[in-house]
Symmetry: C2
Subunit: 830 residues, 2 copies
């Protein structure tokens, strides 16, 4: 049903994918592969060491060698070897293919490959296809003002930096989802294979529909060594390795080369033949999938490629084994410039590739080197899938206003915000079934957006039971109990030009802190590259948040992901804390329309009062922060005695309840209520694009009146965002202070001193002249707090007047039964 | 060589471990196991639902049921089943054993078990061994003011909360290291098994020495479902599952029960027999290891236990399958109190365990229930290993002062700080070979503390190659390319009463942000429990830091772990940024002596000038922050015109270089230099135990003079720590602002505007009256910056006057060759 071969989308004639080989590997192909491989390896060594004399047309001198030698050789020849062979397979089969490189520190190999494809020159004109271009290409590598040493956003054909190891397969599968014609060849380094995220990502094959998704071909590159140690998988007995891959659901093809004196042409022939077998097996599976919807999950091919680390570098340097050793990991000849002897070793190494056979007079690669380069967009360095913005189609977004809750008066409607969002997401899903996915670590239903399952299944190709619900081979919801997998899949999906969101428990999104870092860095650099088109934003929906861990308690309480996120570049990150259902809808519509951001949305899933009508919600979210008139007893233009501010759903509830107490107890006190939805509004305008001007800030918060600010997360973040503001000296923030347990909602607020009684006491303390007048009130409030705590500890529940509190204007309505619970509670698993 | 059976340490007669079974499973044992299991299950259901009538001696009424039903039933009966069988094995073999529960949400089962062991009552006297105690035990579960729903620090016998899933096996192996007599039975939930950290932690068996380490027995509990989905491993074909476990290096024992009408006694007999086989196989391996140092890595037994989720709960509720369904995950009868029909279901469920057979008149468990409870410390809930402080021996710490570098004058000695630390760590390691370990994700040598390998190996039981260095079956350094494994192992090692450190690249320590959260929360709660003894601190050594990513660039730059850490409870976290080698030694000695903290130490590995003599370093680190007189040209008691402050090694270098410029260009300007080693000193004293008083802060930083602060990390953290200080309005902070690439050291500082020239320009801008006088200077400095950038971009190197800059007093010495590089550089892999 989704023949959305991306080549079609660009108006080009699509290649026919999944064609079997038309015969054995020819001698000519083998020769071309070897020429190409030698060229790419020569160019990789050149990038690491040389700043001049790129074709060795003069005797190598120290001046030709870079003064600071940085980069990584060890993994590179393996990466170029695979590239060479994939080129042949693509050229022969016209198979759309992308290449994901787990060991991204092999950057020089991929730069060389894209130069040989012609893509590098067309992307960066100054790197011309001649000796001068080659010199610039060599010099710029890992050089100040040049390019990074890794497979970075700057590298054409890449969506995966591989600087932080572990995500090659999750990115690859993310790219393969809903791309039925796409082959994703993914190299897994044997160091990377030791990481947790990689170790579980092999299981991604249980979430692939052979008919409607693409195919990932994992290539486990066992080169034996990490920085300074052997690798686990290179040293386990081969029968254990084969069992492991079989256990992961794969059919392993094992290849070993480079450890003896076997001729390179023979090696190439063996690998090309084996790769043909693996691709033919894939073709067979795809053909069966096209006609047999009931086929069992296939054992997809994977390749184990065992070659020496640093393959083709000098076997020994200074009497120490270098090729096939951890010593080849980085720069095997760090002293190349220091001694004549070492300079000779480098020259000999470069000459071993016989550059005179590889480049023509002008310094361009000879045509026989690139004879197997695939045409046009089939070149892996030119695939539009790796510049996802080229393929991005806008989501068809139904009008979210039709999915909101009716709020006749503030507080009169009870709703579970995420469940309301789920209703709209169902419609979004229905309208975008081939380019929108939702990822969750077994928390979709717990976070209450499971309405999407009414229009799509959860993808599951791992056996069915009669009691199963909403599972199917094809499904746009993907659930696995691994935040790493959810994040990696979504990143791969977005980077290849689609849309999606990731919903998680707030506390455990920290599991992907480091992955978020890498994605934010990727976006930051991509925005600076004019040829990289904007991609869909990475949208988080964090629920089951810190204030409502009734089932799970302290271990599930952590609002610090926001703190983590705001350290990244301001142009990339956005943080929203909608206080109710309608604001959540408005915020999320905005997020799904945006590009190149990371949007963090924290929202409640528990039944809670709604405060704003849909129109009010839209206005409020558009402003990002504003005065709530209904809760203020002083006109907007007039100075209040105190500002009560809230950011987050529970803080908003407690602030409103505090204002209710103030109205009863201190009716003359002029109170302004400010709500913040878009946290970045608090920053200075020069720090963040959403930041408000000092004038706006002063108008909202005053410059001299006490501000009592109830915040969802760690309180000091508010100080960090506002310390330059005029009113900052008057700001008192309450938030989460790592006090928590499995308890009632209100007891939790009390534990952290963010409850209504405490907030009112802070008002009394801070408003000048009030303290003496209200000493008795303050005592009464503290008594009420203690009574509420005693009640909770005696009964297990919050006092009914607290649990059922709502805004005064809604109380009559509530009594008349107009407070509508939009859904039953308690039955949801968490 | 380490017969440090912990029972010995407590002066008790040790049990004889690793004894094979003395015969088949008896009928009496089977009957006892079943009685115990029924009791533990009854008590688990009771904890989730009941607040009264604990023995059902009256008809159950709604008032007996808790008003808010929270907790998790689904995993619990499996956990109690295993506990019952382990009890028998321990009682029969007198095998020291601890129990790690991956699915920690099965808390009620473990509380019940420790009550049946008698441990709960001896730990918490009010939970008496009678009906009144049982009522209190039931009521307190997951109740305000009571105990958490998970296996928490409050649970006797636990070191693993299991709230965040994924670390059961890494904790188990951490406990097993250097505990040769200890069996660690570790339950892995099938949901947990999908996480990345768990998926790689199976490979821990390659790092175990059968002779000198304990044994981990993994029990993969396949109960089929997560919160709302089937699990991956429960649904793959059994041959794939067996292949997977075989591939992980295990010998799987597969057990299935509960899906048909097999009698429970028969089930118990089968499991007990199989457990005996597995333990006998372990005994055989241990016996061989004791006599054969050359034995190959054994295939350690592991158990696959396939039982229904929520086993023994009602098969159906309201016509929906409940037992053996995801519906049993949490509270299967959430409506127990709502309808009479559901109340009857609950009562029938409780009665199905026949409580009258389980408890005596007084309400204590009958003696026949606990007939197989092991004696004394052999009870899993009473093992001292799970209260590691009981076993903790102080480290023997050699005098670090003897390992420092000689600093005749500030800047006159070049040293690589972490390499100097490594010299001392070698001596620490030599003196503590059975209770000190260093963990690293393949970064030990890269971070340059590899001197420890001169006295111990890296543990490696996975085959050797002739070229291997420092690998051995037994080794106190453990390297695997998984930060999750390093963190989990170290946590397990510390929680069982030993010492250690974890060295990582600074950027990638974010990979364990979430694990750090859980450990910090564990420590916070443990400190509040008087029966939990203090344990060794969790010590990080973060190097290859943000400012020196010459090889790797932007993806490897992130100093935000500090920001993450300081959100946790102040009494638990400490952060140090020693500026040179001697201060690093002093700081680390302090860390290794401390208890119950998380100590984060960020230190450089590159050659850099040393500033302080050892005595000065000790004084400075004792104060945590102070004035550096040698770099100030105004006496401490006198007011300066400007304060230049630094925290971190590169910031210190740049600040000193800036002061050098100021001395030349503006010799009349009165400059004070402040260095901060202990970051928490900046916080108010009421916020952190290390926080300095306002008076101290004012004395260091003044209240009204400009402060130019160069900080290692994100600059806003300094504002967040100091916003309440008097001088805060005058504070200008420079730090890392997400600008970076693979570049030269000084270019990196310039990219982030933390370089000497920029700092001086800030001084000119901020000191009143200086701007006009120094406009020309400011322009000259900017010209120097630009020239340095141009130079780097042309040559790949920093200008020599910048690269080789050192403090004026040291220049003559440097010229005379007295600047000593302590080690060659460039050859280290990174």
């Amino acid at each position: 049903m989704t023949a959305n071969n991306s080549l079609n989308a660009r108006g080009e004639t699509p290649a026919t994918p999944w064609v079997p080989a038309d015969g054995p590997v020819s001698d000519a192909d083998v020769a071309t592969i070897d020429l190409w491989w030698r060229t790419a390896n020569y160019m990789s060594v050149g990038q690491i060491y040389l700043k001049d004399n790129p074709l060795l047309r003069e005797t190598l001198t120290r001046d030709h060698v870079k003064p600071r030698l940085v980069g990584h050789w060890g993994t590179t020849p393996g990466l170029t070897f695979i590239y060479a062979h994939l080129n042949r397979a693509i050229a022969r089969r016209l198979q759309p293919t992308m290449y994901i490189i787990g060991p991204g520190h092999g950057g020089p190999g991929l730069v060389a490959a894209s130069f040989l494809d012609g893509t590098y020159t067309s992307t960066y004109n100054s790197i011309s296809n001649d000796e001068a271009g080659l010199k610039r290409l060599f010099t710029q590598f890992s050089f100040p003002g040049g390019i990074p040493s890794h497979v970075a956003p700057e590298t054409p054909g890449s969506i995966h930096e591989g600087g932080e190891l572990g995500y090659a397969l999750s990115h690859a599968y993310g790219a393969a989802f809903d791309n039925p014609d796409l082959l994703v060849a993914a190299v897994v380094g044997d160091g990377e294979a030791e990481t947790g995220p990689l170790a579980t990502s092999w299981h991604s094959n249980k979430f692939i529909d052979p008919a409607t998704d693409g195919v990932v071909l994992p290539i486990l590159h066992l080169n034996g060594y990490k920085i300074a140690n052997p690798t686990v998988l290179a040293r386990i007995p081969e029968e254990e390795l084969v069992a492991l891959m079989t256990g992961y659901g794969h059919k392993p093809y094992v290849f070993t080369a480079g450890f003896d004196d076997e001729d390179h042409l023979s090696i190439h022939r063996r690998f090309a033949t084996m790769l043909d077998e693996a691709l033919d097996e894939i073709a067979r599976i795809k053909a069966e999938a096209a006609t047999n919807p009931d086929m069992d999950r296939p054992a997809w091919p994977m390749i184990v490629m065992r070659t020496p680390k640093g393959w083709t570098c000098p076997p020994e340097i200074d009497g120490k084994r270098t090729e096939n050793s951890w010593r080849a990991h980085q720069v095997p000849l760090a002293s190349a410039r220091d001694t004549d002897a070492h300079l000779k070793v480098l020259e000999g190494w470069l000459q071993s590739y016989r550059p005179e056979e590889l480049f023509d007079e002008a310094g361009a690669p000879r045509p026989e080197v690139t004879a197997l380069t695939p045409p046009g967009d089939l070149r892996m360095s030119a695939t539009p899938h790796a510049n996802g913005g080229l393929l991005l189609r806008d989501l068809v977004l139904p009008d979210f206003r039709e999915y909101g809750v009716d709020v006749p008066t503030p507080g009169a409607t009870i709703a579970e915000a995420t469940r309301v969002l789920g209703g709209w997401l169902e419609a979004v899903m229905a309208a975008n079934l081939d380019n929108f996915r939702v990822f969750a670590p077994d928390e979709l239903a717990s976070n209450r957006i499971q309405a999407v399952l009414d229009v799509t299944d959860k993808s599951w190709n791992n056996g069915l039971d009669s009691d199963d619900e909403h599972l199917g081979k094809r499904g746009q919801v993907v659930e696995m109990l691994s935040e790493h997998q959810c994040q990696g899949w979504l990143e791969g999906y977005l980077l290849t030009g689609r849309h999606g969101l990731f919903t998680s428990y707030e506390a455990f999104i920290h599991i992907v802190d480091s992955m978020f870092n890498q994605h934010a860095k990727w976006l930051k650099v991509s925005r600076e590259l004019p040829w990289r088109r904007p991609i869909g934003s990475l949208n988080y929906l964090l629920s089951s948040h810190v204030w409502r861990q009734d089932h799970n308690g302290f271990s599930h309480q952590d609002p610090g992901f926001i703190d983590h996120v705001v350290n990244k570049k301001a142009e990339v990150v956005r943080v929203y804390l909608p206080p109710d259902a309608n604001t959540l809808l408005s915020v999320y519509d905005h997020c799904l329309r945006s590009r190149d951001y990371v949007n963090v949305v924290v929202a409640g899933k528990q039944p809670q009062a709604s405060w704003l009508t849909m129109d009010e919600a839209i206005d409020h979210c558009t402003r990002g922060a504003g005065i709530w008139e209904f809760a203020s007893n002083v006109p907007a233009g007039e100075e209040p005695d105190v500002v009560l501010a809230a950011c987050g759903d529970v803080p908003t509830l407690e602030v409103l309840a505090a204002i209710d107490i103030l109205r009863q107890e201190l009716p003359d006190l002029k109170v302004r209520m400010v709500n913040v939805v878009d946290l970045m509004r608090l920053q200075p305008e020069e720090e963040h694009p959403h930041g408000m001007s000092d004038r706006e800030f002063d108008q909202l918060f005053t410059t001299d009146k006490p501000i009592i600010f109830a915040y969802h997360g760690y309180p000091w973040l508010i100080h960090r965002l506002t310390y330059r503001r005029n009113g900052h000296a008057n700001l008192h923030v309450r938030g989460y202070i790592e006090e928590g347990t499995t308890t009632t909602p209100f007891d939790m607020a009390m534990l952290n001193k963010m409850d209504r009684f405490f907030l009112v006491r802070k008002v009394i303390e801070r408003v000048p002249g009030l303290a003496s007048r209200a000493a008795l009130l303050s005592q009464k409030l503290e008594d009420q707090r203690m009574a509420a705590r005693r009640y909770a500890r005696a009964t297990g529940e919050d006092p009914v007047e607290i649990r059922d509190w709502t805004w005064p204007d809604a109380r009559g309505l509530a009594d008349a039964g107009a407070v509508s619970a939009t859904a039953a509670t308690g039955g949801d698993n968490e």
